[in-house]
């Protein structure tokens, strides 16, 4: 049967024109050999599609059948002849080419050209009756001249043609020279053209048959002829015509009456034509959708044409093959650049092929019972020498009637087919199909479909009894189902693993699959679970387990593992005695087992002087009680291992669990000092099952990786009440790591201060430390100025110190060793902070101390008394306060006449008003304020004591003003500006006992002007009515130049005046001149004096006379100390 449905090779290949080359002696003649090689070797895809064969000149081609003139009495015996395609592909050439060595200038031309003609004649004879074309190629040594030039050649060629009875188009010349390949390629295309004409004529010949056919008797010939036409079209490389005729052929096949006798034939040929259509659509015409549609119709139409029910498997095999062929074509097309999508790709077809192969097996096995007793028929009905038609039964070839010719023969034939089928191992048909499908699904992103197929493959291996492969495959597939909690599927899969490992006596897998079958997710009935659990203990004790059948839906019912299974011999090994029990490790994290475990630390952190408390929860979901022998927890520090272990012997009860029990085990252990500031993590939890006297000890190991960080503070877990036993397992959150922190400080540190602080002030922070410890040793306080996140200018300007006066070694941090402190003892320390700029200050205070002899904290753990030699305690907190400016300072300049000025003249006195205004909430006591003039420049115009009185600025906004008279000496002449120096204020908070603060304030810079002369006058403080006042104005030339000054007085009503009204004064350098006047007051009160006017100053400078500008003079006069008014008293009576 397998032979009858397999696709013949000639159908799978793409037909190419068949051209036979004769007259080439490729064994002895090197020239011929190179010509043949050029034709046959290196046929790249860009060369024309031709098939060449080199045959001897006298080769006997298949004989031509006598042509039928009429189809009247012809009854066809089948659809498609088995030999027809091969015949045309490989045997009957479209063209025979005769190669002959003959030059145009051959001396023995006459003999040679006749020899050539006879050669052609031989070929013609052997092709008798065929329309095969004949061509002659003359192999010549010299390159031919261009056509029309060589008259001899033209003449001789014509002669040769007539001798050989050839058309001139079938005669070629092949010069054997350098460009052989170029000539060959040109020859090739000429050959193809000739071949095309041959196939075209063949095609027309077949077409011509049509008119002789009638629908009743020649029904089989319609599809056959269409097939032939299509096949010839393929030879002509005309894919679309070929497709058209294949489709017609296909339609004709469907029109055939299908019955039990010809069922297989119709299906087989239908499959062939379908294959051709699909392959043309996919590979030649790039119409994948057409191919898919055609295939779907094909399958739908033939799916229910089962044929003989006894040969049902054959139908399935055929369907499976159809799918496989289509899938192969599809994937070929994809390799050639077709793009497929997730829902339409070859994988589905491979999967269906596998599906039908499975059905084939099912049907085959269902026959198993009925034919087991029968012998293979003899003579062998399948032993036919050759088949004339595709898809026919060997025992009744050519039979086309509805009823089989011989019923007994028919039955024998069917039996023979069935017997053959039963010998097949279907698994090895199915598995490769599935693995092809798996590859495709992997390519097209279908992980779940791929996994499903992996399982199917595993089931096939199960049928093939390759159990270890089953386990490998299933172990690969199960994790995904376990993760996504598809319990139904998982149970089925684990059941198979369970049974396979039983068959293999694979203890490890047997036990792990038992674990999963016993778990809560497994959907097995509890009776089965009990059996499984019993078996588990039998194995641990070294006894043979009983066979457990599990209801398995995916492994088909007629599997070979039946109820009466003998215990596989491999289990015998189990009972052999062993000195020590073997330990098996089981990784539980990757399973869904019957015993679950959660571990957590009771707190997210523990201080170094306490005991770490770890809780381990165990949940049992198997149906029967269970006894473990050891529970241990592994931490990242192995030193604790001894504390985290519970051992139990049967009967003791600590590790005896009832079914569905959840129990909490608590481990407490002290912390190692080395682990301070480290994290303690749970690495694994191990439960041991079995007994020291048994055969196996199972180590169930849970790896606890800290991948999910769930340090929720609020997970107050429902505490387990041993009497209630109802704990929500899901709500138990694991906490797999904990941090060890230092002992909590029991020193009370209080800080007193009165903020806001003032700039430049030594701001006191008073620490009061009280001990709650019996004895705190090595107390150490570290005070640090904490940097501000935004701005570090404050940090730069601030300092800490223990001493307020001198601020020795000002620094940003301050460490104080305070020694020991007994219980309830107090200690007081003051620290000063000084900042030169305002801002917000944050100071961090860290206290650290050691405690020894912790008698109170000694803890009994596991019978050992804990001794702690010393342990550090630590605490830290922040103090925040503001720093503000205590006062603001302004300096104001005035002339001696109390008028505001912006600049001063050399040698002229002026006034400075210095005023301090307080901004502080605290009253400020200003102890002194002092002007510190610079070494050169401004000095005090009057000598007076600077030791002024202490003044208090009580409330915000109050000011302290001081007036100073200053003068810029003439020696400063060269500069335009002069420094006024610093103004130093010594102050402190009112009432504070702290030292005073000295704040130096910078005074503004003066603008200095100079004037060539100076004027002064001596006036009395007041005048008396009608009493003369003698006044002398002194005008001094301060320059090195000669000066002429025009001066005068304007008279006023209040004074009688004697003196020059207008005068010109000549002043030599550094000379001075006095103008003497007498004023007699005529009115009382504050009276304007006659105004002295400088009308013009002429100075001789480097030989020229220039006038000093008028504005300059006016401006200068303003600054002069010449009074403009005088107070006049009345005459004293008497």
């Amino acid at each position: 049967m397998a032979n009858s449905i397999t696709l013949p090779n000639e159908l799978q290949c793409c037909p190419k024109p068949f051209v036979v080359l004769t007259g080439l002696d490729i064994t002895y003649n090197a020239v011929h050999k190179t010509i043949w090689d050029a034709f046959s070797n290196n046929r790249r895809p860009d060369r024309l599609q031709v098939k060449f064969a080199c045959l001897p000149g006298d080769h006997a081609f298949p004989r031509c059948k006598t042509k039928r003139s009429s189809y009247d009495w012809y009854i066809p015996k089948g659809l498609l002849k088995t030999k027809w395609m091969t015949k045309h592909l490989n045997e009957i050439p479209a063209l025979v080419v005769v190669f002959f060595e003959l030059d145009w200038d051959e001396l023995a031309w006459r003999e040679r050209h006749l020899a050539c003609a006879s050669r052609v004649q031989v070929v013609r004879t052997s092709l008798q009756g065929r329309t095969t074309k004949v061509a002659v190629v003359l192999i010549q040594k010299s390159t031919p001249l261009p056509p029309g030039e060589d008259m001899v050649a033209a003449e001789r060629a014509a002669a040769l043609c007539s001798a050989c009875d050839l058309s001139s188009k079938s005669l070629f010349v092949l010069p054997h020279s350098d460009h052989l390949l170029g000539y060959i390629v040109r020859l090739e295309s000429a050959f193809v053209e000739l071949a095309q004409t041959y196939y075209h004529s063949e095609l027309r010949r077949v077409k011509a048959h049509k008119e002789f056919l009638n629908k009743t008797t020649h029904q089989l010939l319609f599809p056959r002829h269409q097939f032939k036409i299509a096949f010839f079209s393929e030879f002509m490389q005309d894919a679309s015509t070929a497709l058209k005729h294949y489709r017609q052929s296909y339609t004709h096949i469907h029109e055939l009456r299908s019955h039990a006798t010809n069922n297989l034939e119709v299906k087989v040929v239908g499959g062939f034509v379908n294959y051709k259509i699909c392959s043309l659509c996919f590979l030649k015409l790039n119409a994948p959708l057409d191919a898919i549609n055609q295939f779907q119709r094909h399958v739908e139409q033939f799916k229910y044409q089962f044929g003989n029910p006894d040969l049902m498997f054959e139908h399935c095999a055929w369907l499976s093959q159809q799918y496989l062929l289509f899938a192969d074509l599809f994937s070929n097309a994809i390799e050639q650049g077709l793009s497929a999508i997730q829902t339409q790709h070859p994988g589905f077809y491979y999967q269906q092929a596998a599906h039908y192969a499975t059905l084939r097996r099912q049907h085959a096995l269902s026959l198993c019972v009925s034919i087991e007793s029968l012998n293979y028929p003899s003579p062998d009905p399948l032993a036919a020498e050759s088949m004339d038609f595709f898809g026919q039964r060997p025992w009744r070839q050519g039979h086309q009637r509805i009823d089989p010719p011989d019923v007994a023969m028919e039955n024998d034939g069917i039996l023979a087919l069935q017997k053959q089928e039963l010998q097949l191992d279907h698994s090895w048909i199915i598995i490769p199909l599935i693995s092809s499908a798996v590859t495709q699904f992997k390519k097209f992103h279908c992980p779940r479909l791929k996994r499903h197929l992996t399982i199917k493959m595993a089931i096939e291996y199960y049928h093939a009894e390759d159990y270890s492969k089953v386990i490998v495959l299933l172990c690969r597939a199960t994790p995904a189902y376990r993760e996504s909690r598809w319990c139904s599927i998982l149970t089925q899969l684990v059941s198979i693993i369970f049974q396979c490992s039983y068959m293999l006596a694979d203890v490890q897998n047997y036990l792990t699959s038992s674990f999963e079958l016993l778990s809560s997710l497994s959907q097995l009935p509890s009776a089965k679970k009990k059996l499984i659990q019993e078996n588990m203990f039998l194995i641990l004790c070294g006894k043979l387990p009983k066979y457990v059948t599990l209801p398995s839906e995916i492994v088909s019912q007629n599997n070979k593992v039946c109820d009466n299974v003998v215990v596989p011999p491999a289990w015998e090994d189990l009972t052999a005695s062993l000195e020590n029990p073997r330990t098996l490790h089981v990784e539980m994290t990757s399973l869904v087992p019957f015993v679950e475990c959660k571990a957590r630390f009771s707190q997210p952190e523990f201080s170094i002087d306490t005991c770490i408390c770890m809780e381990v929860f165990i949940r049992i979901t198997c149906p029967e009680p269970i006894q473990f022998i050891e529970l241990s927890v592994g931490l990242n520090n192995f030193d604790y291992d001894s504390a985290c272990i519970i051992s139990d012997t049967p009967g003791h009860g600590a590790l005896y669990y009832k079914s569905q029990e959840i129990r909490k085990h608590v481990f407490e252990f002290p912390v190692d000092l080395q682990d301070l500031y480290k994290s303690i993590q749970v690495k694994n939890v191990t439960l041991k099952l079995g007994s020291e006297t048994g055969r196996y000890i199972l180590q169930l190991n849970w790896l606890k990786t800290d991948n999910e960080i769930d340090h929720e503070e609020s997970d107050i877990i429902n505490e387990i009440h041993s009497n209630q036993g109802t704990v929500d397992w899901e709500s138990i959150k694991e906490r797999k790591s904990t941090n060890v922190v230092e002992r909590k400080s029991r020193l009370d540190v209080q800080v007193h201060h009165s903020s806001p602080a003032l700039t430049n002030e030594a701001f006191p922070l008073t620490f009061v430390i009280t001990s709650e410890e019996d004895l705190a040793e090595n107390i150490n306080i570290l005070i640090t100025l904490k940097p501000d996140d935004h701005d570090d200018s404050f940090l730069q300007a601030a300092h800490l110190s223990v001493d307020c006066d001198s601020l020795v070694r000002p620094s940003k941090t301050l460490e104080m060793e305070l020694g020991c402190l007994k219980r309830k003892e107090k200690l007081k320390r003051t620290v000063y902070i000084r900042s030169s700029v305002p801002g917000a200050a944050t100071v961090t205070v860290q206290t650290q101390y050691n405690v020894s002899n912790l008698s109170v904290q000694s803890v009994l753990v596991a019978g050992k008394q804990l001794k702690m030699i010393s342990c550090p305690s630590k605490s830290s907190f922040n103090i925040c306060f503001d720093v503000v400016e205590p006062f603001s300072f302004t300096a104001h300049l005035m002339s001696m006449n109390m008028e505001s000025i912006s600049s001063v003249y050399l040698g002229q006195s002026f006034l400075m008003l210095a005023s301090l205004t307080t901004h502080s909430v605290w009253p400020i006591e200003v102890q002194s304020s002092q002007h510190n003039p610079p070494v050169e420049g401004v000095f005090s115009a009057m000598s007076y004591s600077q030791n002024d009185e202490v003044s208090v600025l009580a409330s915000e906004g109050e000011s302290l003003v001081k007036c100073l008279a200053l003068v810029v000496p003439d020696s400063m002449e060269k500069t335009d500006t002069a420094e006024l120096g610093l103004y130093t204020v010594r102050w402190k908070r009112y009432g504070s006992k702290n030292c005073t603060t000295e704040t130096s304030l910078k005074l503004p810079t003066l603008t200095i002007r100079s004037f060539p002369i100076s004027i002064d006058a001596n006036f009395p403080a007041y005048g008396v009515l009608r009493k003369s006042i003698k006044v002398t104005y002194n005008i001094t030339n301060k320059s090195k130049d000669f000066k002429i000054i025009e001066a005068g007085f304007e008279s006023v009503e209040a004074f009688m005046f004697s003196g020059p009204k207008q005068t010109k004064i000549f002043l030599s350098p550094f000379d001075s001149h006095s103008i003497k006047c007498i004023f007699i007051p005529l009115a009382l009160g504050y009276q304007a004096l006659p105004k002295m006017q400088i009308r013009g100053i002429y100075q001789q400078h480097k030989g020229s006379t220039e006038l000093v500008q008028k504005e300059n003079i006016d401006n200068f006069c303003l600054h002069c100390l010449i009074p403009t008014h005088l107070y006049i008293k009345p005459m004293l009576s008497g």
């Binding site: 399958v299 229910y304 589905f348 279908c446 996504s484």
Partner: protein, 152 residues
């Protein structure tokens, strides 16, 4: 009428799977429903890509036929909360039209919403609701004819 109805949680574990009575190898339908997730995921991903974020709320829940199978047609439906509904229909059942499948899904979705609205239902648990069960079983082929075992 469907042969199998499946409801799958956002995290791709089954919330509810019900097959027609009398089907052999119920687990095969579990596989069918499970494998259809491949296509659902791909379709949902491509939907998310093609439409902008603002329209995702308004997107079509019904995904249509999922992947070709000779014997069954598999339809998918995804809610906003990524709960998936899968309906498996026999391929032979050609009367069933697309909008009928849509309305089946809509009814299922409504029934599922009712289940979720039950204050005693813990979201994420398997569906154990009688009313949901009755809705689902109303859509399932009541009794499969015992077919000729030779028919594939």
């Amino acid at each position: 009428m469907a042969v199998c109805i499946g409801v799958i949680a956002k995290e791709n574990y089954p919330l509810y799977i019900r097959c027609a009575p009398n089907v052999e190898n119920e687990v095969n339908f579990h596989f069918t429903v499970h494998t259809s997730l491949d296509v659902i995921e791909e379709k949902v991903a491509s939907l998310g890509k093609s439409t902008s974020i603002s329209t995702t709320d308004l997107r079509e829940f019904y995904l249509g036929q999922l992947y070709p199978s000779e014997d069954y047609r598999i339809y998918g439906y995804v809610t906003n909360t990524k709960v998936k509904f899968v309906i498996v229909v026999e391929a032979a059942n050609t009367q069933l039209r697309d909008n009928e499948v849509r309305s089946m899904f809509r009814r299922l979705h409504n029934a599922y919403t009712d289940v979720i609205c039950n204050p005693f239902h813990v979201p994420g648990d398997k569906i154990k609701s009688k009313s949901f069960d009755s809705v689902a079983s109303s859509m399932i082929v009541p009794e499969r004819k015992k077919e000729n075992p030779l028919v594939i």
